[in-house]
Amino acid sequence: MPDIGVAPRSLRAAAKGTRELADELRTVDPRVADPIARAMPGSGAAKHAAQVGDFWQTRLSENVSSLEDRATKLAEAADTYDGGERAGEADFSGLTPAET
């Protein structure tokens, strides 16, 4: 019975922490390097500025999305415990971001 003893309160705290992490990540501006294009017009760096912005935007969105899913599933697991059922039913697969 590996899941016995897990307090739903701990899982909810982890879900809350995860959500807060997602909220914090949302405040990071992924387009911060875009103005390089304005600072160095006609440069090679300028050509890559928007691409870096796109890249970071995608990655950070994926991270936020993963965190939100995770928070939801942690909350579901807590509910499951509250309901006296096994937490193994909560599915955490698919939370791993596509990139490293």
């Binding site: 995860t18 870096v52 697991a77």
Partner: protein
Amino acid sequence: MGDWDTIAGWSPAELKAVGDDLAAELKRLRGTEAELRDATTPAEWEGEAAEAAKRSLAEIERGLLHRVEEFAMLRAAVDDAAERLERLHGAMHGAAEFARAHDFEIAGGVVRPRPGAPANPDPDVRAHLEAQVQQIVRTGLDIDADLTTVMRSVLDGKGHSDASTMTKAAAAGAESGQSTLLDPPKDATPAQNKAWWDTLSDDERKWLIAQRPELIGNRKGIPYQARHEANVNRIALEREKLRELRENLKDWTFVLERAKEVGIGKTISDLRGIDEKLKALDVLERQAEDNSIVSLDTSGDRVRAAVAIGDVDNADYVAVYTPGMNSAVEDNMNRYVDELREVNQYAQDMLAGTGETVATVVWMDYEPPKTSVDEIVEGIFDDRAEDGAKRLAAELEGLEASRMDDPPERITAIGHSYGSLTTALALRESDAADAFVSQGSPGWNGDDGLKVPAGELYNLRTDGDLIAGSGWYGGSPENYDGVRQLETDDAVTADGERLAGSEGHSGYTEADRRQSTSEYNTAAVITGRDDLLIEREHADSR
């Protein structure tokens, strides 16, 4: 639009603002470390779901560490680019000002005479400006290339460190975001070297002197103080290399391998020359205590070097003295420096009250023949002089280039004996010298083609100097038209000071604290004091 204008249009201030914004976002990212801890699943939770939840958070954490590293990397690269660009814009402004002051302008990266400027502006200035423009563009493109490389690295998503904390990830990113130093162009001219040096920061220069002294020590066109500092750093390294070679040459397997690689002759001469080279390094190490080692090369059969007395980078008058046959650093650099220090002081005395200064380089960056069995024959030919002349010409061009922003009043090339031939050959390649003093010369292969202003060729010959009278190399300079023959006998200056006469082939400059007529005349040429010169009255009296 050309590269020059494109680079001029880049804004270091805006770039700096991007760097600041990146720093702020990086701080925000790193601030998630606390939330990351709060998001950790309870330790007591076990099972498949718990493991999956842990894995998912680990993956997210890994992604965040990568973002931290990327932000830190780009922030470092942008800050670095902003700093370099600001310095580069300063160099562009300086070049434009310099051009204006010398009747040129830089338009779209092209150097051309300013409209309305007098005809035939100085070609040396033009070459200097063109090298500057070329280097500025080169550096500008390098700034862009370095920044672009970092951005590509972000996009590739590869090469992240294995940093396990945000602090470590930020440090790793900051380090990999630093740009690499741009080397000078291959086979750079002195003007290109100066332009390259001018685009570096003080920290970059210090780093190069400490970490890559071999790149700096003999580089013509950069400040002599930098060359000195680099060469001082090289002495220990060169000594170590020579000692290692000496040890290796005791091993026959190594000797045979080396003979295959560089030839048996070179291998034997290496072996024979190591002790002399080590002695030469000792001499230079001692010289570095009071003077500057502005050139050092151990790659030939003998050590080649140049020692400067005084501040070549700032002196108003600079002399470059080239000795002749039988000169070797280990044997007579000390003596030459002592002798030329006296001449330098006499020249300085002539400038009393003016605030102007003199510096003298004792230049032995060549291997003149020795009166040994295998080299005496070479003395008859001028191959070694020609070889030395190429380097001496480059040195003179380097001196001129290094002082382009603040040219000395006068550069005087002095050559003794075979060194006068070497100097004369160099002065057919370089127009940097304002005067040429020849002492005890066996000839200059005639006086045609010397790029020295008219009336600024001087010859000194003492009584009984048979070598000077030999005329081995195109006749004696005593017989050349347009060469002013200066007195070497006892004489009295206009101020009534008694000067000693010099004798023999090696008596033109002696470290005897007694001013000779030839030293006085040499000093007068160095300082451009035509009014003090004591010319010889009877050219045929020797």
